[in-house]
């Protein structure tokens, strides 16, 4: 099977929470149904209710059929018949219809069970393959790009496989320019060799572009080595270094950093919270500060031109000052707000700490390859993307590597 991108739902599957919305409907003569549907689809298309079928057929007692049709959405309020558009009112008058308020499911079903529940209320459509807003929402070009981003993350995780210890990898990208913003692996423990990876993978001043490439045979082998199911202790041991999978494991570690020598330039030789996503956010913020120095805050960067504030310069040339202002205005417009609009690719589903960090940093979409049954917060243990109280909501997708990669 080929690579697949599937949306991770933000609510438990099969639970139709009864979220409904009122519409204006009417019972009609079966012979009129076709004509009316055609007229109404023009007069009042159901823009936000595409999953709802226009017509409901119910069998009443004594084998009689009842046909109901949605005339239009409600306008004045959930239970109000007021505000019906003129075109629809004309249809009502012409065919002497008796409008009433009907309740229909507000959202499309995300599972077969939910869909069956919904249809008891009003018939809806259900597309399991499209997975609500799943694969179908990406163009082939987008899908190709998403898959190559995930391969970049998988490659990073593979590179980190020194001493058979796998690490999680995080790649933040700007989908509009298709540039890598940050790419890192877990930095909870700094075993020998991993420094090289993190250095090479730290944020690039000149944005690099991800190239499209098909997985070669070597690449495939590496991916395969990345992922075995948690079958035995032996197998899971090689994942102990994947910080989000085993966030508490550091508490039990006895050995590898008995003597902690702190390298120059490195504040920590190990840090139990430096999971890949946290480090990636830190690098993205560092890039932001460097590329878009804050002119009004001197504590932020050493890059600003201190001469701007001197009175001599102020008087010198109004013209150049205006130019300066326009330039900084432009920078201000181009400057991202945190990671708004950016996507992150993770090999493993993030833990609660990382998932919430990504909420704070306003990531747009999260793609992960493998679920985290121990501590995953985007589907496995918690479902942060479904927490309505949060002030930001990202979409979450699982990217399934092709079966030749993960048999």
């Amino acid at each position: 099977m080929a690579w697949e991108i599937v949306r991770v739902p933000d609510k438990p599957p099969g639970c139709f929470q009864g979220t409904t919305v009122g519409v204006v409907a009417s019972n009609v003569e079966p012979k009129l149904a076709n004509t009316l549907v055609r007229k109404l689809c023009l007069a009042a298309p159901l823009e936000n209710l595409r999953h709802v079928k226009r017509v409901r057929r119910r069998t009443l007692e004594a084998g009689r059929n009842e046909l109901s049709i949605i005339l239009c959405p409600t306008f004045a309020g959930e239970n109000e018949l007021e505000g019906i558009p003129d075109d629809v009112q004309k249809v009502i008058n012409d065919y002497q219809l008796n409008p009433f308020i009907a309740k229909v499911p507000k959202y499309s079903a995300s599972s077969k069970e939910e869909w069956e529940d919904q249809c008891k209320l009003w018939p809806t459509s259900y597309h399991p393959m499209a997975n609500v807003e799943g694969f179908a929402e990406f163009t082939p070009d987008d899908s190709h790009w998403i898959i190559s981003c995930m391969k970049t993350a998988l490659n990073l995780a593979t590179l980190s496989q020194l001493g058979k210890q796998v690490k999680n990898a995080a790649v933040i990208v700007d989908p509009s320019s298709r540039h890598i913003i940050a790419s890192v692996v877990d930095q909870t423990s700094e075993l020998s060799g991993t420094n090289k990876v993190t250095e090479a993978a730290s944020y690039a001043k000149d944005p690099e572009t991800i190239s499209f490439s098909e997985a070669g045979e070597n690449e495939l082998k590496c991916y395969q080595a990345l992922f075995h199911p948690y079958t035995s202790d032996e197998a899971s041991r090689s994942y102990f270094e994947v910080s989000c999978l085993y966030p508490w494991r550091w508490l039990e570690q006895k050995s590898h950093t008995e003597i902690t020598t702190v390298d120059n330039g490195n504040k920590y030789s190990w840090h139990p919270l430096r999971h890949a996503a946290i480090v990636a956010i830190e690098n993205a913020a560092a890039r932001d500060r460097q590329l878009f120095p804050n002119p009004s805050n001197s504590s932020c960067s050493g890059l600003q031109d201190s001469a701007i504030n001197s009175p001599a310069k102020r008087q010198k040339n109004v013209e150049s000052l205006v130019q300066e202002e326009i330039k900084s205005c432009l920078l201000e417009v181009m400057r991202p707000y945190l990671c708004t609009g950016f996507d992150i690719y993770l090999v493993w589903e993030p833990c609660a700490m990382c998932a919430m960090a990504l909420v704070h940093q306003r990531i747009r979409r999260i793609f992960y390859a493998f679920p985290n049954l121990n501590a995953g917060a985007l589907g496995s243990i918690h479902k942060l993307q479904g927490e309505k109280s949060l002030n930001h909501h990202y979409s979450v997708y699982r990217v399934f590597p092709s079966t030749e990669v993960v048999p």
Binding site: W248, L251, Q253, A285, L321, E332, M353, A357
Partner: protein, 234 residues
């Protein structure tokens, strides 16, 4: 886990005062006013306040700042990993606002002993409000979940809420700019000499950092519900 306000000791109050000082210093730096201190054996060993705006890193909450200080210092002092875990297990955190989901998870990972917080965080709280991460690891066959810590809220909550309210009343000056620049504004910018232009201040604008119209009534209750405040921090 969250008990009444009456049982706090005078040293609890003193440590929270210290945390509130940190929150005030954050506010003077135009940061969301949340602060904290870590206490070991009755002594403050680390403190922190929000630096999300300055760093442009929205994960730099007070707790994270204080934790990083500790890890850096302990490693420089040559402490081994087991020694550090031992130290964290004796730490008590005083923080002006309930730790968010991220911070609560982090505190659980570190295995700290106890948390005292001021006001609850109805939108992001990870110690009971939204998730209960202070309960530690989920479903352990061995029985004893790792990363569980005691947690009590309501310690000087009104002071904590008061700071947050006064911050949001003035608007978050580091709020994002509108997507399309206001032409009248950029014109104004271009003509005002830089030294006097405080263009970043735009009060009244609802910001993504969490500004929401704030109630004008001063808090009276000891444990104020903060549902009207959008606490993006803590």
């Amino acid at each position: 886990m969250i008990s009444a306000t009456s049982e706090f000791t005078s040293s609890d109050l003193a440590f929270m005062e210290f945390a509130l000082e940190q929150a005030k210093s954050a506010m003077s730096n135009l940061e969301v006013p949340v602060g904290c201190v870590f206490v070991e054996d009755g002594e403050v060993i680390s403190s922190g306040s929000n630096r999300t705006n300055e760093t442009r890193n929205a994960t730099r909450h007070a707790e994270m700042e204080a934790i990083d200080l500790l890890l850096e210092r302990w490693q420089k002092a040559g402490l081994s990993l087991p020694e550090v875990t031992e130290k964290f297990s004796k730490c008590v955190l005083y923080v002006t606002c309930e730790p968010c989901i991220m911070c609560a998870a982090a505190l659980s990972i570190l295995g700290i002993k106890e948390v005292f917080y001021g006001c609850a965080n109805d939108k992001f709280g990870g110690c009971g409000s939204i998730l209960s991460l202070h309960e530690g690891e989920s479903e352990q066959p061995s029985g004893c979940p790792r990363g569980r810590f005691r947690c009590r809220g309501g310690l000087m909550a009104s002071e904590a809420v008061g700071l947050l309210r006064s911050f949001y009343e003035h608007g978050n000056p580091n709020a994002p700019k509108p997507h399309r620049p206001d032409p009248s504004l950029s014109k104004a910018r271009a003509t005002v000499p830089r030294g006097d232009a405080v263009i970043a201040k735009r009060p009244g604008k609802k910001d993504l950092q969490g500004g929401i119209p704030t109630p004008s009534v001063p808090p009276e209750e000891a444990f104020v519900p903060t549902s009207q405040l959008d606490l993006d921090t803590g």
